[in-house]
């Protein structure tokens, strides 16, 4: 807290970092992986973003859902994506999901849990369809289905009940969607819409949103003020006078 005017009154509290208090889930099905997430980002008790994108692009065949501190999941997945692209270019090979997991694990372990990123990585590569989870301390696990975030307990309940190996696409989408929905209903910090991302050998189907919240609020009126609503009392114009002009040449490599 920062005291204002040196007094005890009027202390300004620094805003807490935005968390994605979230429900994310992933499931491996017959032809690939389905990832799902809600779209609410909260800053303590206020919903800071109603249409937050929590399923992040890592590679054309790999996507990652992130729970925890919003900035950490954004940046971590961005860095991972850049690293994998560079690797792809250098080696001429498409990235594998295990490689993404290893890079993440190394990085998060190095920061000893200070990076609050709880991630579910899913993708399809030449070795098959994979779903991994990486924790903020650098632990990882390979799983056929998983939910993370503050709404993970209700979501896991749905997944534990209805998961089967080798489901088909519609079943898998319905399962993930219902799991996220359970998280949204039972957790205050999860809500709004449900995004889905289906990854197969053929490509990616990013469905945003898959299911919209029935509690969407439609604005009743416009809140824009007409020009002239606020009366102008006084007008002063200060002409800025050009005192001195210099031009400095810069050496840039490769310029002709």
């Amino acid at each position: 807290t920062v005291p204002v005017n040196g007094s005890e009154e009027g202390k300004i509290k620094a805003p807490k970092p935005m968390k994605t208090g979230t429900t994310i889930a992933g499931v491996v099905y017959k032809d690939g992986v389905v990832l799902g997430a809600d779209t609410r980002a909260t800053s303590e008790e206020v919903v800071a973003d109603k249409m937050c994108a929590k399923i992040h692009y890592i590679a054309p065949n790999i996507y990652c859902c992130g729970a925890g501190t919003a900035a950490d999941t954004e940046k971590t997945t961005d860095m991972l994506s850049s690293n994998l692209t560079i690797f792809s270019m250098n080696s001429g090979r498409n990235p594998r999901v295990v490689m993404a997991v290893n890079i993440l694990q190394d990085m998060l372990f190095r920061y000893r849990g200070m990076i609050g990123a709880h991630l579910i990585l899913g993708g399809v590569d030449c070795t098959g369809s994979h779903l991994y989870t990486v924790g903020p301390y650098g632990s990882m696990d390979k799983v056929p289905y998983l939910a993370m975030g503050s709404g993970k307990l209700p979501a896991m309940g749905i997944l534990e009940d209805r998961f089967k190996g080798n489901m088909d696409l519609e079943e898998a989408k319905a399962l993930v969607s219902d799991a996220i929905h359970a998280g949204i209903m039972s957790d205050l910090a999860s809500g709004n819409n449900i995004d889905l991302c289906v990854i197969t050998k053929e490509g990616v189907d990013y469905i945003r949103p898959h299911r919209e919240s029935i509690y969407n609020y439609k604005r009743q009126a416009k809140y824009k003020y007409k020009p002239g609503t606020t009366p102008v009392l006084n007008k002063t114009v200060n002409q800025l006078e050009l005192v001195h002009e210099t031009v400095q040449m810069m050496e840039t490599a490769g310029s002709s």
Partner: protein, 217 residues
């Protein structure tokens, strides 16, 4: 998000666990449960792998913080593989254990993980080494570790015999793990056993419903 009140001193996912290793006639058996927990009340995985292969005939069982254990075994796997290439021959189990010990001892402030390194090599045959939390290295004919091990010290001390056959050793390990999993709440799931001999490495999984049942279950 971290609403699970934790008495465990491990931050994040813990492998509050039962691991063991036992030497038998011709090889070693290492075994573990498969539960990973966060705090005392949430099982974050029912199927975690705690038997990590660091070389062709050398395995490590992990206990403690999952993140720390995975990082250490990754590092050890790399160093062991490099050592093996330089020596142009398969590494000794002692070498693997030493690498783990160096990592644990030199980073004892930051790490919270313990290991059982076991395997087979040409020089001394089957061996078991314990690398504990602070970096102590000890060789033993059989050993148990993890939070569930406290419940089976009596059992293993009474039932162990040197030079058991493979069947006896398998029964011994399965019973010990089943007893520990029956009493320790942070151990559970299935029993993973790996049998390491000169000829091969065999992975056996005993699912929960096939575990031996004891009095009162």
């Amino acid at each position: 998000m971290d609403s699970h009140h934790s008495y465990s001193q491990v931050k994040g996912v813990s492998t509050g666990t039962t691991i063991l290793a036992v030497k038998f006639n011709g090889g070693v058996i290492i075994g573990s449960d498969s539960r990973a927990s966060m705090g005392e009340s949430y099982v974050s995985s029912k199927t975690i792998n705690k038997l990590i292969q660091v070389h062709d005939r050398i395995f490590c069982c992990i206990a403690g913080s999952l993140a720390d254990a995975q990082a250490v075994t990754k590092m050890a796997k790399f160093q062991l593989s490099f050592h093996s290439i330089q020596m142009e021959s398969p590494p000794l189990v002692k070498a693997a254990a030493s690498i783990m010990r160096e990592l644990c001892y030199n980073n004892k402030e930051e790490l919270q993980a313990g290991f059982i390194t076991a395997g087979w090599d040409r020089k001394k045959g089957p061996q078991i080494y314990v690398v504990s939390l602070g970096g102590m290295l000890l060789s033993q004919p059989y050993t148990i570790g993890g939070s569930g091990s406290t419940y089976i010290y009596g059992y293993v001390d009474a039932k162990f015999k040197p030079d058991m056959s493979l069947e006896e050793a398998t029964q011994f390990s399965t019973n010990a793990l089943a007893l520990a999993m029956g009493r320790d709440n942070v151990s559970g799931g299935v029993v993973h056993l790996v049998v390491i001999t000169e000829a091969e490495v065999k992975h056996v999984v005993v699912p929960g419903n096939k575990l031996p049942k004891f009095h009162d279950e």
